[in-house]
Symmetry: C2
Subunit: 460 residues, 2 copies
């Protein structure tokens, strides 16, 4: 009963023809490394010579990324938590000058300046930036991560996440909710009114509650939420509800001011993405100690500013490797379409850096509808693909749909270049016109050029 | 390239032998209806003669079961909500006399009597029951469902669920949490202290909050939670967290008494099964209007009292069809094992009656570890099996792991008898010794005899 079998490697034409003739064939989807680019293939081969050293370094960085213990411990104004000075505006992504900034980020900067009362209108705000009296800096340089435009100024409250395995801290603002919000570049009076309420009432109440709580274990929350259909970038409903449930006893206990507890409870009850900023701060708290390990080719940050996409690689420290950012493909709110979309922005891709978001799609088939047909098969395929470019599987972020297999984690620059598979990022979509706010949600690929540059830098 | 193929129907031996000889064979797992029982097969054939009438009736009952709109509207003492008189103790399951009651239910009855101050000790309490000065009645006869022992007495607060599609109401007590609690037959002072706190502080606060809320849509919560890994019998963590998040703004707004809001928030934050009682009350609110439809062979209640398992069938109204209840198979808390398990009890199988619990296992692979090897394949297999005995698929309870296919709903007595597949019920396990409390969790099958009796009654 045994017959000869055919294995076809590479070009699918041979296999297709044999299949047409009903000859059993195993088709191996082989492609030349680095898409056939000889220079990159040579670099990969040179790195391979020091393979053991690289593998040891990557194993250590992987451990740092996955074994950290991020706890949510406080919420304080940025001038206290970060010692952020007057007249500094933090933004998402790698550094970008005002002249190259996209419209929604410019609008958000001007709005943040008005919110701080450093200028009375957008023109005056822009003048302050142009002549250097207000400075711009990336959140990442201030132990902070900001979603979308990523605005942080000194009076804004920031969550404080402490990585108890290493003692470092990371920060993120309070998620404002969906739609017309500062992070998506909306700038009207309701945006500023909400920011003031966050600073004067919600932030102080959350801070007092968190200090009373002794700290909330975010890794445990993320692990639990991943079991409940969140991939924690585009879907955070489980993590948000679990966090609110854990937080409310402390809020109620410290909440003296009449109505403040109820207003906060209502705000968080209406915001399914409340946890996103906490997942981001946890990601930054986990990734920060993983930077600067010699020989490691693992990615320690991915971030976008609406103009550039940037990555950091462990062995290369705080250096950014940037390329023009792509525009997400996705689904739009009624009345909006692809023509309204800004190129991708935000520090939120830090969640993909630690094994959540796009690569954890298998946990979240509902999110898979943003990529192709959606559904279970698509979700599993995305995670399987991202596994090819990752160092390992997360020991705590387990996915029930994969029978408790861990989410792929630790993106390896070598594997990205070798396979040509770019990390997939689940993301919101901002309107490209200033003041629009969110117009949809979708997915975007990190540009391969960032990884190719990093590979070059790894072997100077 | 075409060869003859073999289809083997029935005994697997033929197919196995051909497979051994490497002959392609399609093995159809056919079994004679009703396990070859000629009398039951005849009854099924007689029912089949009136098939159209039955199908029409079942379609209507299925609609009633799935299209109802249960809203959580209030929480009030049972003497207000149910007009439950003095000296009545409601229990789970079909009717059962004191003499036939299992130990944990007897202990719970005595404890409930002490809690109401109708007797000072268990002996006096038992005497009241034995000589009829305290009456026992099933929860189901009082528009109520009770988990495990199912105790309800007049001063206990009950949630009120209104089915807004039909105007009927159903009720359930507040879930007490895990471990040493009255519903599992624990009876110590901490149990009574918790019941008093529920009656004097938590219940009134929940009631005021719910009345202020205007009602919370439980079907929407259940549909959402099913997408988040709950099957809402053994796993309610998503539903509980979502409900708490929706409820807390109202609790905070009405909560005047210092500390009461914080105590309630802490209680619900520590109870992943808080929602179970609400899923049950929703189930009763949905199932009640589905009872009493002539010719319908769909099940409208399944309940256990630790001695008997009972079912109700739509066409047969409030009549119970009972058989000895089985003991669950499952996993035990440290220090306990199968020898400590009481036979199954509780009205909670109402959730299986409306398409959740065991039949929705595909939504909840984590729960599938209680049946065999567990994991995704096991979870999908359970749901596929239960689909064989159900009228249809739920239009709102959709399962992402099945690419948005609905959970099987509407158990059909005919199909149960014909296939020999008994409904699978996910359940907690009570200690059989009075006062022990919960010892584990597992699964149990409804006895086929209940369904066979009902079939006989359908064709007298």
């Amino acid at each position: 009963m045994f017959e000869p079998r055919v294995v076809s490697v590479g070009l699918p034409l041979f296999a297709a023809e044999l299949a047409r003739l009903a000859v059993p064939v195993l088709d191996v989807d082989w492609r030349p490394p680095a898409g056939g680019n000889a220079r990159l293939a040579t670099l990969l081969a040179r790195l391979d010579a020091g393979r053991d050293e690289v593998e040891r370094a990557n194993a250590r960085v992987f451990d740092l990324l996955v074994e950290g213990r991020p706890f949510l411990v406080d919420c304080r104004p940025a001038h206290e938590a970060l010692e952020l000075p007057e007249r500094v505006v933090l933004h998402a992504g790698p550094p970008v000058a005002w002249e190259r900034m996209c419209e929604p980020m410019r609008a958000a900067v001007a709005c943040a300046i008005r919110y701080e009362d450093w200028a009375a209108n957008d023109d005056a705000a822009e003048a302050l930036v142009r002549d250097g009296r207000v400075r711009l800096a990336p959140c990442h340089d201030w132990k902070t991560v900001g979603p979308m435009t990523g605005m942080v100024t000194r009076s804004m409250p920031v969550f404080v996440v402490e990585n108890r395995a290493h003692g470092n801290r990371a920060h993120a603002t309070i998620n404002e909710g969906l739609g017309r919000v500062l992070r998506f570049g909306a700038t009207d009076d309701s945006v500023i009114a909400r920011l003031r309420w966050l600073a004067t009432e919600a932030g102080p109440l959350l801070g007092a509650a968190l200090r009373a709580s002794g700290g909330i274990d975010l890794r445990a929350h993320m692990a639990q939420a991943l079991r409940m259909g969140d991939e924690m970038h585009q879907r955070n409903v489980a993590a948000s509800a679990l966090l609110v449930r854990a937080l409310m006893p402390h809020v109620a206990r410290v909440g003296g001011r009449h109505g403040a507890v109820a207003r906060l409870a209502e705000f968080v009850a209406g915001n399914d993405q409340f946890f996103l900023n906490l997942a981001m701060a946890a990601g930054k708290a986990l990734a920060a100690p993983a930077g600067g390990v010699a020989h490691s080719t693992l990615v320690t940050a991915m971030a976008r500013n609406g103009t550039d996409f940037g990555i950091r690689v462990s062995a290369l420290g705080d250096r950014w490797f940037t390329a023009p950012v792509e525009t997400p493909v996705g689904l739009y709110f009624p009345g909006f379409g692809p023509d309204d979309a800004n190129p991708d922005l935000g520090d939120s891709a830090i969640v993909e850096t630690i094994g959540l978001g796009g690569g954890a799609m298998a946990a979240s088939p509902a999110v898979a509808r943003f990529v192709g047909a959606g559904g279970v098969a698509e979700a599993l395929a995305v995670t399987a693909e991202i596994r090819e470019i990752c160092h390992g599987e997360h020991p705590y972020f387990l996915i029930p749909a994969l029978d408790e297999r861990g989410a792929p984690a630790g993106i390896d620059v070598r594997r990205v270049v070798e396979t040509g598979i770019a990390p997939l990022i689940n993301t919101g979509i901002a309107g490209k016109k200033a003041g629009t706010g969110q117009v949809g949600a979708g997915v975007v690929r990190a540009p391969l050029a960032c990884f190719e540059q990093a590979l070059e830098a790894l072997l100077p």
